[in-house]
């Protein structure tokens, strides 16, 4: 071995105490490797800014069109925020509880018990219901106390739309979970990202009419859009728009059927390819 080769680690040791550009670059390189290896992680860099731009851009368009309807706009915004959070928490209950089993390396323990896939799903769905009840009551009470916005006064008419949002959350939560199971922990950000893919097109904070005309048919195809439009109709004092509720339900039936098929198929792939074991890694 040459003396130069022997001297290299010594020089590295001499510089160990201070700030090292090499070490900073090494840590940066680790992140670059991670981004290069994961398309999902890379997409995240553009995904959130684009979603924010879409939501806040459409909301700005809506606000600009309002003429003296400030109180109602605030009701729509707060109502939309509360119902969105209900939807989001219910979806999270499913995908994040699955992730928790992965993070704690408990998934194999669960799947070597006599638990069936249907039982596993049912437990996640019920957790979603529990979270919806807690989140819905908490946010409604806080909105009443802080902004004198009383969601409870709309009471029963809102229930068909809240229930539809719960069904949508179940469907999207199952699809998200299936994708995490299929693509592994690298896809875990999908648990948070996928619901926000629906947000700009679900007319959460503004009516569908704010969206460009070419996007509206796609928006109406989402059960979440129907639910938020229904919410706005109720909050504006109209009778329950049963047609909208009916469309939301029909679209949810399709979504849940699709998510069930996707989950069952991915579970089969997981058992065929040993994905359950790899997730425990």
């Amino acid at each position: 071995m040459s003396s130069a080769a022997v001297g290299t680690p010594r020089r590295a040791a001499e510089g160990a105490a201070g700030l090292s550009g090499g070490r900073i670059l090494a840590l940066l390189l680790r992140q670059v490797y991670l981004y290069r290896r994961s398309l999902i992680r890379s997409l995240e860099i553009v995904y959130w800014p684009v979603m924010d731009l879409l939501v806040w851009g459409f909301l700005s368009l809506y606000v600009a069109r309002l003429r003296g309807g400030g109180a109602q706009a605030i009701a729509f915004l707060l109502g939309g925020m509360i119902l969105w959070d209900i939807f989001y928490r219910a979806q999270q209950a499913i995908s994040v509880s699955f992730l928790e089993d992965i993070w704690t390396r408990n998934l194999v323990n669960v799947f070597v018990t006599p638990v069936s896939t249907a039982e596993f799903i049912a437990a996640m769905l019920l957790l979603g219901v529990m979270k919806v009840i807690v989140t819905g009551l908490l946010l409604s009470a806080l909105a009443l106390a802080l902004y004198t916005f009383n969601l409870f006064q709309f009471g029963l008419p809102l229930i068909p739309f809240v229930l539809n949002l719960l069904l949508s959350a179940w469907g999207i939560g199952l699809i998200t979970t299936a994708m995490i199971l299929r693509f592994g922990q690298g896809a875990e950000t999908l648990a948070w990202a996928i619901p926000f893919l629906f947000q700009p097109f679900s007319a959460v904070f503004y009516p569908v009419t704010v969206l460009p005309a070419f996007l509206r048919p796609a928006a109406w195809a989402l059960p979440t859009t129907q639910a938020f439009e229904g919410m706005r109709a109720v909050l504006s004092g109209s009778a329950i728009p049963w047609t909208v509720a009916g469309w939301a339900l029909a679209e949810n039936v399709v979504l849940l059927g699709l998510s069930g098929v996707v989950f069952a198929r991915v579970m089969y792939i997981a058992r065929d390819r040993g994905l359950l074991l790899r997730l425990e890694g």
């Binding site: 704690t104 194999v108 323990n109 070597v112 058992r271 359950l276 074991l277």
Partner: protein, 265 residues
């Protein structure tokens, strides 16, 4: 069928479709491929009820893959698996209610207490009088004082013993263990082996386990199955296998297989 040394303890298993009574695990022509890679290659073996069988082989031999197929976590490419006379995976739920599994590489949620974790699993197995069962097992494995402790705060030895408590909750007829003493010091490992012998003697439990500790395998196993590149290369009691391959210890044989790919004497 292989002769098993010593008197067989009373067993609780039924008659297998493999034709032999009291077969706890039956594997016939089992193969698992991932693409062109053959991980388990036409593997056949039987484990009789009440036997303690060590499943050995170097890393990548196909042990974990086989274990996963026995537990219904992985679908075979071809071949047949039967546990307690029932086909896996067709009767997955019925089988899994009567067997259990633990591994130091699989954990229980660290943010739950020992008691909370065991209560959840007792319910998953539908155990009656779960509280008494949990208390009895915690006491037996010296974990009674840790009942209220967060599982994440247990030492690796305590966590391994907790895994065994979890695996015994449903009084399994077949216990699958993946390197059950891997994270234990020699004293802890010996205590675990004692408990396993006791459980087999008392309940006639079939124990099928993987290990890289060859001394342990020699001491604990009635029979060993030696796997290499997905194929069974040796089968029998540890003494029989050593005699057949003209080796002094299983460790010697293991090293020969791992380095040269052959145990031929």
């Amino acid at each position: 069928m292989h002769a098993i040394p010593g008197a067989a303890p009373p067993t609780r298993s039924g008659v297998s479709a493999f034709g032999a009574a009291e077969v706890a695990i039956g594997v016939e022509h089992l193969t698992k491929r991932f693409g062109t890679l053959v991980i388990v290659d036409d593997l056949s073996f039987h484990v009789r009820a009440g036997e303690i069988v060590g499943f050995l082989g170097p890393n990548g031999a196909g042990k974990t893959t086989t274990l996963a197929m026995l537990l219904g976590l992985l679908l075979p490419t071809s071949g047949r698996v039967e546990v307690l006379g029932l086909p896996m995976p067709a009767q997955r739920q019925r089988i899994l209610a009567r067997v259990n599994f633990t591994s130091p590489f699989v954990s229980l949620p660290g943010n739950l207490t020992v008691n909370e974790n065991l209560t959840v699993f007792a319910r998953l197995y539908g155990i009656r009088r779960a509280r008494e069962r949990i208390a009895e097992l915690l006491d037996r494995f010296g974990l009674a004082a840790l009942r209220g402790r967060s599982t994440g705060r247990l030492s690796s030895g305590e966590a391994t013993r907790l895994g065994l408590v979890k695996a015994l909750l449903n009084d399994p007829e077949v216990l699958f263990l993946d390197e059950p003493t891997a994270s234990l010091d020699p004293d802890g490992a010996e205590r675990v082996r004692e408990r396993l012998r006791e459980i087999r003697a008392e309940r006639g439990t079939t124990i099928f386990y993987t290990s890289h500790n060859m001394q342990e395998v020699e001491r604990l196993s009635d029979r060993i199955l030696f796997l290499h590149k997905g194929r069974l290369i040796a089968e029998g009691s540890p003494a029989d296998v050593l005699r057949r391959f003209a080796r002094e210890t299983l460790e010697e044989m293991f090293l020969d297989v791992a380095r040269s790919g052959s145990a031929a004497s």
